[in-house]
Every structure is written in C-alpha cells, then in structure tokens.
Point group: C2
DNA sequence: CGTTTAGTTGACCGTGCTCAAGGGGCGTGG
DNA sequence: CCACGCCCCTTGAGCACGGTCAACTAAACG
C-alpha cells in the first residue's frame, strides 16, 4: 500500500457517480477533485481494505479497480453482499457508527482516495447539492442491497446470475466504464461470482455456461460481452429502477 | 386509514430507537415528541403503506405494529427484505430519491406518525445529535440488509430461521417490547417468515418444528418464547454487532 | 354453516451442493 | 528449459436440502 501522488490519476468515476444523483456545479467539482487527489493510495488484489470490527475513521472512494463487501461465517462460508466499483465510496457515512459491520477486500489492484470525514463534511456544508448527492449514493447502495436479498432469496440460479451481470453492466455504464456498447471488464473469479450470488462455484460455472450456450453472453479473459441485452434482462427479471441512476 | 389524535399514543419506541445511537437531550425529545403526535395514522393489516414506484413525499415512523419491506417478481414470488418494527422509520431519507424502490405493507394493524421532510430537516438542523441519530438509523437498516443477504445466501434453513428469530428478539429488546425476559410478540404468518428467509412455507414450517423439537423455542398464538437464547444464537451463528444498537 | 385463512403432514422430485479428478495458464525456481 | 506448484476453470457422479403438489385440520368469521 503506497501513496501515489500527482498526475495520471482520474477522479472522473467518483464525480460521475455523484453527478448521477444531483447536478454538481463547477466550483464544487473542482474542490472535490482537489480533495480526492490529496491522498491517493494503491493496494494489490486480495487485500482487506476494511475489516469487520474496525473503527471507521477515514472515508475511502474508489478511483479504479473492484472490491467486494463481504461477511464470513465462523466456518469460512463467505457471502459477498455487494461489489464496490470505481466511483463508489466504501461508505461515506460509516464513521457515524462505532464499528464496521462488514469487511471490504480488493478483488483487483485498486486505486482509491482517502478523505477525512471532517473534510467531506466541510464540502457538504458548503454545497447542499453535494450533501444530497453523497446521501443519495448511500441510499442507492442500500437499495442495491435490498435487490440482492431478492436476487439471492427468490431467483433461480440462471436468473440470479443474469441479474447480477445486468446490474454490473448498468453500474459500469453510469461511470462510463463500458469497453464499448456491449462489453465491460469483469475482473473477478468465478468463486467471487458464486459468493455474490449465494451459489457454489461448481453450479455457478454451469450456470455461466448455460448463459453462453443460450447466446446471451460471451465471457472470456475477464471481459464480459452481452450479446443480447434485452434477452439477458429478461432472463434475469432485471429492471433498473432500483439503481436510481437516471441513465 | 384514519387520523387518530390525542391521548393514549406512545411515541416511546421511536425515541428509544434514536436514543440507541446518540443521546437525545430533553428539549429535542420534547420537540420530536410533539412532531410525532401531530399526524398519527392507523392502517389495518395487509395494506400497502408505500408501493414501489411511488414518489416519496412524507416520512413515516412506526409507533406500533409490524410492517414488511418487500419486492415481488413479475410471477408473484415475493421476498421480504426487512421487517419494519415499532420505532423504525419507513425511510427517513427516502425523499431524497425520486422513487420508492420497494414496497412496504402492514403485517398487523399499524399506528404511525407522518412528518414532512422539511419539518424533520428543521429539527435535525437544530440538534446535531438528532441529525446523526437519524442518519445512524438509516445506516443500521442498511447493515441489517447486508446481514440478510448473508443469511439468505449462506446459511442453511435451520440456521437461517434461528438467526432471524434472534434478530427480531434483539431489535424488539432495544425498543423495550419484550413481553418478559424471554418472550416477544411475533405477529406474522409463516408465509411471511418464509418470504423473509427465502424458504418455502412448507419447509419453513418444518424448520420451525425442528427448532421446537430441539427445545430452543416455543411459538404459539403469535408469541415467541426463546427457551435457550445462547443455544439459539449458536444455531443461527448470530452475533449482534451488525445491529449497532449498543445494548 | 359454509368459507376463508393458517398451520401441518406426506410423497415425490428437482435444483443445486459436495466430492473428486483433471486440464490449462502462469510464475517460480532448480 | 523444464519441473513444479498454484490458481482458476471445467466436468462427472451421487446425493441432499429444500421445493412442489396435494390433502387435511383447526380456528375465525360472517
């Protein structure tokens, strides 16, 4: 984990993410951009950025790379409860609670900004739109959480995986991270996808193959191509309202 | 749905719930109490209080009775994503987003307060502790949501039901709604519990019987008695950290 | 009394899990 | 250069957890 200063850092995803909820004016955008560039850090894949039980102190905002919010049971069973994608915060408001109730680990190499809660509070106090956007981001994450409960609890394996892929595709679209109209990176293992859908790796693998065989997706070398988006949405009973991201 | 004014209304659960996160001083408590009593409404069991797609306008805070946050799939499959218990708000911050992303319906007769968002904002602006408590309540709900994903995704039926019962018991304890040290009301049908755990009604019924046979619980006439709390927690792999409610 | 709703039980079956083994890519080290 | 280990993906076989369907009981209610 090392601090990376200077040039070549893109803060766009974070600003795009917030802009999906409220218009952020130029002055605030610039101030936010400055705050984000002040402490940029990098970690490799497979590191715990936040562990359950930690005292939350700093706010972390992802600039690039994927992470997973997860919890494990005593015997090792793991459930990923959400993916944290570029532009997402690893909990902008968590510092209000005494402890972290879940862990967050990197699935890929990750670049992120650290901001002190006080710093963000100052920014929020100076621009009501920014304050609301930050709250909305938290609320939207909560909504995604609810949809995951539905996904895991009431959808069949095929529907579940289709739904998850649709969600990821949509979320990456709002931060402009599609590779072209119908592809995006999917830099996670099948074990990760299994833990996210509540399936076993074996069954997840077979389900992916079913989706491939049906001509809905191509998944090779960590690139997901959606061949027939309407059909995939249909297969996953996917409706994007819950993402609250206008686009 | 009718307005009930006047006496005999208990606002305690709502105030206790917020006090679990931040100390609320007497002045604010009194102001909050007044705000809560201004518009108290009542609905019967089985009514939708909020429907997916609604434009959120008013804030609703439950004074008595149970509700369920839920989503349904096109073909009728229903997943309850959380219970809303006395003292909980049906989303204090939802008005920031354009649409409700899920429905909330009453499982019992319910008494609740309606507050205008502006009214609450004024109260929050005048007392930082209250503002933080309201945010914490939303964050704690979000944490519960994550735990439900784990519950549904990675626990076996018996563990799942045990866990849910432990959670309900704890949550009712923080708002002082236990009937005595080891009992609480559980005014919902087995269909509701099935939809909350992602199980079928038939299997939920059998799982409850297993818990009864193991001497862990007694469940009769909508009263849940936990005979052996440590054993039930053990059976459900339950650890209350995620509730963030100090007690 | 008939109807409805909730709980219960039995029988059967299927989705998805477990266990196990093998293949391919890749980095490391002999 | 090849050997080895490691990680990830894949496939097969058997099985179990939990779903589905159906029927029956008991209580609540008009």
């Amino acid at each position: 984990m090392n601090i990376t200063r200077g040039i070549g850092i893109q803060t766009d995803p974070a600003i795009r993410r917030l802009s999906a909820f409220r218009p952020i004016n130029e002055v605030t955008t610039a101030a936010l951009d400055r705050a984000l560039r002040e402490r940029v850090l990098r970690i490799d894949a497979g590191q715990d950025l936040i562990a359950e039980g930690d005292r939350p102190d700093r706010i972390r905002i992802v600039l690039s790379g994927w992470l997973a919010r997860y919890k494990t049971l005593e015997d090792g069973r793991r459930q990923i409860v959400n993916f944290v994608l570029p532009g997402d915060s690893c909990d902008a408001l968590a510092y209000l609670l005494p402890r972290q109730d879940h862990s967050i680990s990197s699935l890929t190499a990750v670049m992120y900004s650290e901001i002190d809660p006080e710093r963000l509070e100052v920014l929020m106090a100076s621009d009501q739109m920014l304050a609301e956007a930050v709250l909305c981001e938290a609320l939207a994450n909560c909504s995604i959480q609810r949809e995951w409960a539905v996904n895991i609890g009431r959808r069949m394996a095929l529907e579940r995986v289709a739904h998850l892929l649709c969600e990821i595709f949509e979320r990456l679209r709002t931060v402009r991270l599609l590779l072209n109209g119908d592809s995006c990176g999917l830099p996670v293992t099948q074990t990760d996808l299994a833990d996210a859908t509540g399936l076993s790796v074996v069954h997840l693998n077979r389900t992916l193959q079913e989706l491939r065989a049906a001509g809905l997706i191509v998944l090779r070398e960590r690139i997901l191509t959606i061949c027939d988006l309407p059909a995939l949405r249909n297969a996953g009973l996917f409706s994007p309202l819950y993402l609250h991201s206008a686009g």
